[in-house]
Symmetry: C2
Subunit: 452 residues, 2 copies
C-alpha cells in the first residue's frame, strides 16, 4: 500500500491532471497524481511501428490558436511539424470519386451555396453562446430542445449539404448528429474557434503534429513532476472528513486538503464518494456520454499516394471510413494512412472481428488511393470505447436538454472535490488545449480556496 | 465476509431481482440475491406517518392490465384498493383555476381538438414500434433523430396543447420532453398500453393501490426467498473465470455459474467487470440516465378537500407541482396530498433547502385546494436522485440516437452476465410489472443457457 499526505491529490494523469499538478507545484503546493494506467497521457498514446517510427493511436493534432498547448510544447522542448497537406484531396459522394485542391470539394454549386449559408448560420448562432454559461444563450431552450440532426434538416436544404454536416458532426464529435444537442454543438463550435477552425488543416485544429508523437507532451510534462505520479492505481473511492479528503485506489491511499478529479464525466461518476455527491452532479455524469471512435492506420513501405499527386487526405459520405489523413511520421521510412471509424460505424464495426474491421478500413483506403493500398505492412487500431479508463473518445458530449438543466454542475466543486478534464473547458473544449486549461482552472480554484 | 456458492447470483433485490430469484428457485436452482441496501424493494419504499398509517415514497400504483404484478399481488395474499377518484379534479393553466369531472379538463374546444389529434398521432405511431426491437420501427431513424419536444412542436398546434404534452412527458418520464428520443417515447407509450392507459386512474396505470403499501409486494416476495437474500452488500465487481462468476460486494463474495444484474443501467455500468464489458454495452450504460423526481406528501388531520367535492387530483402547467393525487392511506385517520416535482423542477428544487422545497410544494397545494392545505401535520419527501443505490426515478430513458445505435445491447447477455430491471422490459417498461417480467425473462435465459 502506497500512502501519501499532500496539499492536493489529482486523479488522472492525462493532460488535465498533469496541468493541475504542475500549476499547484509551481505555486508551492505538494501534490500527488494517482493514475489508473501504467502510463501517463490518458487519451494521448503512442505506438511504435514495426517498420520503425512512431504514430499516435490517440490525440495528435494541435492548431496555431491553441495557446496553452503551444506554450507547453515550447516550454517542454518539443517540435511541431506541419500535417502533410500537399497535393490533391480525394472526395467521394455516393460512390462517385473526385479529386480537388484546397478546402472545398468540387461539387454542385447549389450544394456549395447551401453548405455556405448553413455554415454561416451555425457560426452566427454559435457566436451568441456564452462560453462560460452556454445555458444563458438567447435561444438556449429552443437550441437545447432539439438535436443537431433536427437543425441540419432545417438549415441545409440539399441532401448532399445535409450529408456534409452529418459527416462534420461525426468527424468533430465522434457521434451522430442525432445524439447531440444543438446547443452543445454550437457551444463546441464556438469553443473551438468556429466551424472553419475545427475542420481545417492549414490554419486550423489539424495544422500541426508533434515530432515523436503528441503523447510526448504528456510524457515530458510528467517528467517535470518526478515521483509525484503514482501509476497503476485506479481510484475507487473519495472520502471527505472535515478538512481531509482521502483518495483510495488499488494499492494507494492518498490524503490531502483537496482533490481534483481530472477524468471524463462518465468515469468520475463511477467513483464511490462519501459523503455522496449531490443528485444534480450525479445526474449530470449520467448524461454526458463519451463519443465512439476507432482510430485505424495502415502502414505501407512508402507514402505512394504522394507520387500520384495526392495529399492522402480524403473525405467520403459512404464510409465506413469517412475521413482520411496522411499520417506518415516525420521521421519517414514508411507511409501511413489514417482513417477514423466514428459514431455508428465505430459501434457497428467495433463489434466485428479484427479481420473484418481491417478489411472494411483497407477497402476504403483502396477506394480512395487505388490497389496499392490493399496490402499494408501493418494495421494499427485503437477502439477507445474498449479502453477501461477512457470508455470513448474524442470527448464527452451533451444530448439535448442536459446543458440547460444541469450545465452549471460541470465545473461546480462539491466541497473539497474539484473537476477538471477537457470536457470542463470553455476554450477548445474536447482538445488537448482545453484539457490543459481545465487543469489550470481547477488548480486556481484550489489555490483560491486555501486562502479563504 | 459472507461467502456463497450457488447456481446463480442475482444483484439487486428490487422487484426484478426478486422475480429472477423466485423463478430460478421454482426451477430448482440455488440462488443468492446480493442487495446494497439494508432493505429489499429498490424503488419501492414505505414510510410510516407520524399520525399513523403507511404511504409509499417510491412506486405505488398498479393497473388492471398489468398481468405479472397482479398475479404476484394475488399469490402473495395482498389486497388492492382503488385509488381515490371521486369528486371534481382541479386544473390550472397559466394561473387560471378550474374544476372538472372525468378525464378531460374544461378547456377551449380548439385545444381539446388539438390534443385529441396529437394523441391519436402518437398512439398510431407508437403502434408501429415493435416492442422487442424498437430500432426496427419503420421510421426508427427519423423518430430517434429528434427529441419528443421537437415532435410536440410539430404535432400540437396550440400553445396549451403543447404544454399538455410537456406535462404528460414530465409526469410519465420524470424528464423534460427535450431530453427524450421520440422513438423511445413512442416505445414507452406502446409498452404501457397507449397514451390513455399511462395517464389514467380509472382503467389505467394508476387505478389500484396496495393495502399497506406497494413495498409490501417486494417484502412478501422476499419472504418466499428466506435467507437467500444478503442485505447491506453493495456489489463492486464481477469477475468471470471459465465457468465461474464471482460477485464481490462489501463483505460478500458469491460464486455461481451465472449472474443476473437487476439494476438500472447507469448503476450496472459502475460495477467493475473482469473481463471488461464490450465497449458497446458500456457506451449504452453511459447513455441511459435516470429520470428526476421528488415525491412529496403533505399530511393533514383529514382529507378536507373531499368535503368540498374535490377528488384531490389536480393538474397544472405552472408548477412546480404539476400533478397531485389524494394519497390518503386506505386505513384512514389522516388526509394525504401527494405532489410530484419532476424534470427541471426536481433538479432546481432538489438543490434548494428542505424548507424552501416544502414551502414551494405546500403553496401549490394551497393554490389547488385552498388555505386549509397551508399547515400540514407532516411533510414527507423523497428525492430519488439523492439515493445512492437508485440515482433517479421513475426509470431510465433514452435520449435521441441511443435506441437505433445501441438498443440491442440492453438485453444482450455478456458471457455469463445477464441483464434485468424494468428498463429491459418489453411490456410495462418502467413499471413494477415490467420489473417482474424482466427478472423472469433473465431467469429463463439462465435456465436455457444451463441446458446447452
Amino acid at each position: 500500500m502506497r500512502t501519501s499526505q499532500t496539499d492536493v491529490v489529482v486523479v488522472g494523469a492525462g493532460l488535465a491532471g498533469l496541468a493541475a499538478a504542475r500549476a499547484l507545484t509551481a505555486a508551492g503546493r505538494s501534490v500527488v497524481v494517482v493514475e489508473a494506467r501504467d502510463r501517463v497521457g490518458g487519451r494521448l498514446m503512442g505506438h511504435e511501428l514495426g517498420a520503425g517510427g512512431t504514430v499516435e493511436v490517440g490525440g495528435q493534432w494541435v492548431g496555431p490558436r491553441q495557446v496553452r498547448v503551444n506554450a507547453w510544447i515550447d516550454e517542454l522542448g518539443l517540435e511541431r511539424v506541419e500535417t502533410h497537406d500537399e497535393g490533391d484531396n480525394r472526395f467521394e459522394h455516393r460512390g462517385r470519386l473526385s479529386r480537388y485542391r484546397g478546402p472545398i470539394p468540387k461539387v454542385n454549386p447549389l450544394v456549395l451555396a447551401d453548405v455556405a449559408q448553413a455554415q454561416a448560420w451555425l457560426d452566427r448562432m454559435a457566436a451568441r453562446v456564452p462560453l462560460d454559461a452556454p445555458w444563458r444563450a438567447p435561444k438556449a431552450d429552443a437550441w437545447d430542445g432539439q438535436t443537431f440532426e433536427t437543425a441540419i434538416r432545417r438549415i441545409a436544404r440539399t441532401t448532399a449539404g445535409r450529408e456534409f454536416f452529418r459527416l462534420m458532426a461525426q468527424a468533430v464529435f465522434a457521434a451522430e448528429p442525432r445524439e447531440l444537442s444543438l446547443l452543445h454543438a454550437l457551444f463546441y463550435l464556438r469553443s473551438g474557434g468556429g466551424f472553419e477552425q475545427l475542420v481545417s488543416v492549414a490554419g486550423g485544429a489539424q495544422q500541426h503534429r508533434i515530432v515523436g508523437g503528441a503523447h510526448r507532451i504528456a510524457e515530458r510534462a510528467a517528467e517535470t513532476l518526478g515521483d509525484r505520479i503514482l501509476l497503476g492505481a485506479p481510484v475507487r473511492r473519495i472520502d471527505t472528513d472535515g478538512n481531509t479528503v482521502t483518495v483510495r485506489g488499488d494499492g494507494v491511499e492518498a490524503r490531502a486538503g483537496h482533490v481534483i478529479v481530472a477524468l471524463p464525466p462518465t468515469l468520475a461518476g463511477r467513483i464511490i464518494y462519501d459523503p455522496l455527491l449531490p443528485g444534480r452532479r450525479d445526474q449530470l455524469t449520467q448524461r454526458m456520454p463519451q463519443g465512439s471512435v476507432i482510430k485505424c492506420m495502415a502502414v505501407y513501405d512508402e507514402p505512394f499516394w504522394r507520387r500520384d499527386g495526392l495529399s492522402g487526405q480524403a473525405t467520403g459520405t459512404t464510409g465506413p471510413v469517412k475521413v482520411v489523413f496522411d499520417n506518415t511520421p516525420s521521421t519517414g521510412g514508411v507511409g501511413v494512412l489514417l482513417g477514423f471509424l466514428e459514431g455508428d460505424h465505430a459501434r457497428t464495426l467495433g463489434a466485428a472481428s479484427p479481420d473484418e474491421r481491417r478489411r472494411a478500413v483497407v477497402d476504403c483506403f483502396v477506394r480512395f488511393f487505388g490497389p496499392r493500398a490493399a496490402d499494408p505492412l501493418e494495421f494499427v487500431e485503437r477502439s477507445w470505447a474498449e479502453e477501461e479508463f477512457t470508455r470513448g473518445c474524442y470527448s464527452a458530449f451533451m444530448p439535448p436538454g442536459v446543458m440547460t438543466s444541469l450545465g452549471p454542475e460541470l465545473r461546480r466543486p462539491c466541497g473539497r472535490i474539484h473537476w477538471a478534464g477537457t470536457e470542463t473547458a470553455e476554450v477548445y473544449c474536447g482538445y488537448m488545449d482545453g484539457a490543459i486549461s481545465s487543469g489550470e482552472r481547477a488548480a486556481a480554484e484550489v489555490l483560491a480556496a486555501r486562502t479563504d
